[in-house]
């Protein structure tokens, strides 16, 4: 299974990754090789087998949806990791042109 350069570009766009042409070429080849290897899964008979998403067997673990207040200095610590701020808000680029 070989991915075309266009396909690799499309995947990178979906993944929100800006890649150089060199990267696109390199990852294209490597991803194709991994997919070839993974393809052997198709030979397994899974007729009637349910998928496993988790292994604990737990179901519906509920808790109250309560607001837990953080002390001011922790709120500030959390906000201080943001690259752009205005007051107590995180600044984001314009969403609507």
């Amino acid at each position: 299974m070989s991915l075309s350069q266009e396909e690799v570009k499309h995947i990178a766009e979906l993944a929100r990754l800006e890649l150089t042409d060199q990267e696109l070429e390199k990852y294209g080849g490597q991803l194709s090789a991994v997919l070839d290897y993974i393809d052997q899964l198709k030979e397994v008979d899974v007729e009637g087998v349910a998928p496993t998403a988790q292994v604990t067997g737990l179901e519906n673990i509920w808790r109250e949806d309560e607001i837990k207040s953080w002390p001011q200095h922790l709120v500030e610590a959390a906000l201080s990791d943001a690259p752009a701020k205005e007051g107590r808000f995180i600044k984001v680029k314009r969403v609507i042109e």
């Binding site: 800006e18 988790q54 990791d81 969403v95 042109e97």
Partner: protein, 499 residues
């Protein structure tokens, strides 16, 4: 007498209890060792000397006030994908190079309450993606047994730090062998607890359905001590399970292996394993036989599909988990300059989308990018059924098969890796698929959520060999019994690298 940093948790806590040593002295000995050798090994990303000495002093005061506990005053390292309040957590990625978490992971909180002393944070493959610690954005860690070789990964810094006595134990995370595999390469004990045994809250998520934190330690008994502190239900991690976690090494029954049967899965004893590793494992089997263990050959026919299943499920979960790194809330941000002459903000690369793609393109290393792309592809429209759903179904078969075999035997024994530590820059390092195959003996227990432990069992060409024990769900106690009895009659775990 040994220097204090060479002690096990058990030995140190006895000396602390008898007031023969202090936590401050123990911590100072570790800090001295780190200064001496970490320039060569490069296990640490952050060493917090001042904070560690302050915590050690506090632990001594707590003890003086009458408190006790096996970890009170014991210095340790945490892998740098585990959040520590006020101390940098980078996941060995450029995208988090300056990130400081505003809260502690649950397991860090529990260790703090127990009085353990955090020395700093250890190196890993970026976001724990890898098996050699070569994928760290801050350079590789070196194996203390041979500095030209890898320590294994992804918890390579933690394994190297424990093996070279920079600390008494370390925390790692295991998604598909990231505790067990480096423990094997570095000649120490590494325990991946049952999935759901120890909280993932505050771990930088990789593969949420298999991630589990656990200890890297000098002995089986030390690993049991650490697990008993970090285990338990956490309201912040809905996948933690309420199961008792007795430490079997507190009682005498631990030594009796006479009624025990251990399974040897024939698919784990294949031609691809180096002869020196096979010999060490055969010798370990012979030793356990002398202790009264019966062995039984068992079969897990779906084993060969474990790696392909893992490399669908893992990249899929990674592509989703790493979507949060967007250059907005925290971490590296690559918002371009506003002075570019292009007319629209899109042309200037100054729109929201460009912030995402540039921050991520700049911040993530090659392996993270590969995995994000593989997962994005596997989950994308038209491919979901063929890849992700198929993999989850085969995962069911792998899990059912392992559960069934573990009804017939008390635990399984396998090599940890098919060979000893390889050279930094070996063929695996350049070929992602080759590196994925390194986890061949690790994937089954991870996909099934079973507890598994690597224990030192010999040497091949002067480098440590590990054996893996895989137990029933929530039966870490069985692994501790077998491991403890094995250690009590062998000396492999006492061997130290000559650095």
């Amino acid at each position: 007498m040994k220097s204090l940093n060479q002690l096990t948790i058990k030995q140190a806590s006895q000396l602390l209890a008898k007031k023969e040593i202090t936590s401050v002295a123990l911590t100072e000995a570790c800090l001295k060792r780190i200064k001496e050798i970490d320039g060569k090994i490069k296990a640490c990303l952050t060493v917090c000397e001042k904070e560690a000495l302050a915590e050690a002093k506090k632990a001594d005061e707590r003890r003086a006030a009458g408190e006790s506990g096996d970890l009170l005053g014991i210095p340790y390292f945490a892998k740098d994908n585990i959040l520590t309040r006020g101390i940098k957590t980078t996941a060995a990625s450029k995208i988090l190079a300056n990130y400081i978490a505003p809260y502690d992971a649950t397991i860090i909180k529990k260790l703090k309450q127990a009085g353990a002393v955090l020395l700093g944070k250890t190196n890993l493959d970026e976001f724990a993606h890898g098996s050699s610690t070569e994928n760290s954005a801050f350079g590789p860690t070196h194996n203390p047994w041979d500095l030209t070789r890898v320590p294994g990964g992804s918890s390579g810094g933690s394994a190297a730090a424990v093996a070279s006595d920079m600390c008494l134990f370390a925390l790692g995370t295991d998604t598909c062998g990231s505790i067990r595999y480096p423990a094997g390469f570095c000649g120490i004990v590494g325990l991946k607890p049952t999935y759901g045994r120890s909280s993932r809250f505050g771990l930088i998520a990789m593969t949420s359905s298999t991630d589990v934190p656990g200890p890297l330690a000098k002995t089986v008994e030390d690993a049991a001590i650490v697990l008993s502190v970090i285990a338990g239900v956490d309201e912040n991690d809905a996948t933690t399970v309420n199961q008792p976690h007795p430490n079997p090494l507190l009682s005498k029954e631990r030594v009796n292996l006479k009624s025990m049967t251990i399974g040897l899965p024939k698919e784990y004893f294949t031609a691809g394993t180096d002869q020196g590793v096979t010999q060490a494992i055969e010798q370990a089997v012979a030793t356990l036989k002398k202790l009264g263990v019966k062995f039984k050959s068992v079969s897990l026919p779906h084993t060969k599909y474990a790696i392909p299943v893992y490399y669908i499920i893992t990249p899929s979960e990674i592509s989703s988990n790493l979507a949060r790194f967007d250059g907005i809330k925290y971490g590296l941000s690559a918002a371009p300059s506003l002075t570019s002459p292009a007319r629209t903000s899109r042309e200037r690369g100054n729109d929201l989308m460009s912030v995402y793609t540039r921050s991520r393109g700049k911040g993530f290393g090659p392996e993270a990018k590969r995995r994000i792309m593989l997962g994005t592809y596997a989950l994308s429209a038209g491919y979901y059924d063929a890849y992700y759903l198929q993999a989850q179904k085969v995962r069911t078969q792998i899990k059912q098969e392992m559960d069934k075999v573990l009804q017939e035997v008390d635990c399984l024994l396998t090599p940890t890796a098919p060979h000893v530590a390889f050279k930094i820059g070996a063929p695996q390092s350049a070929d992602p698929l080759k590196m994925y195959l390194e986890d061949i003996f690790m994937a089954g227990a991870s996909l099934s959520g079973l507890p598994a432990m690597s224990i030192p069992c010999g040497f091949d060409n002067g480098l440590p060999v590990g054996m893996q024990l895989i137990g029933r769900r929530f039966d870490e106690a069985m692994l501790f019994r077998v491991g403890w009895a094995y250690e009590a009659t062998t000396r492999w775990h006492l061997e130290k690298p000559g650095i």
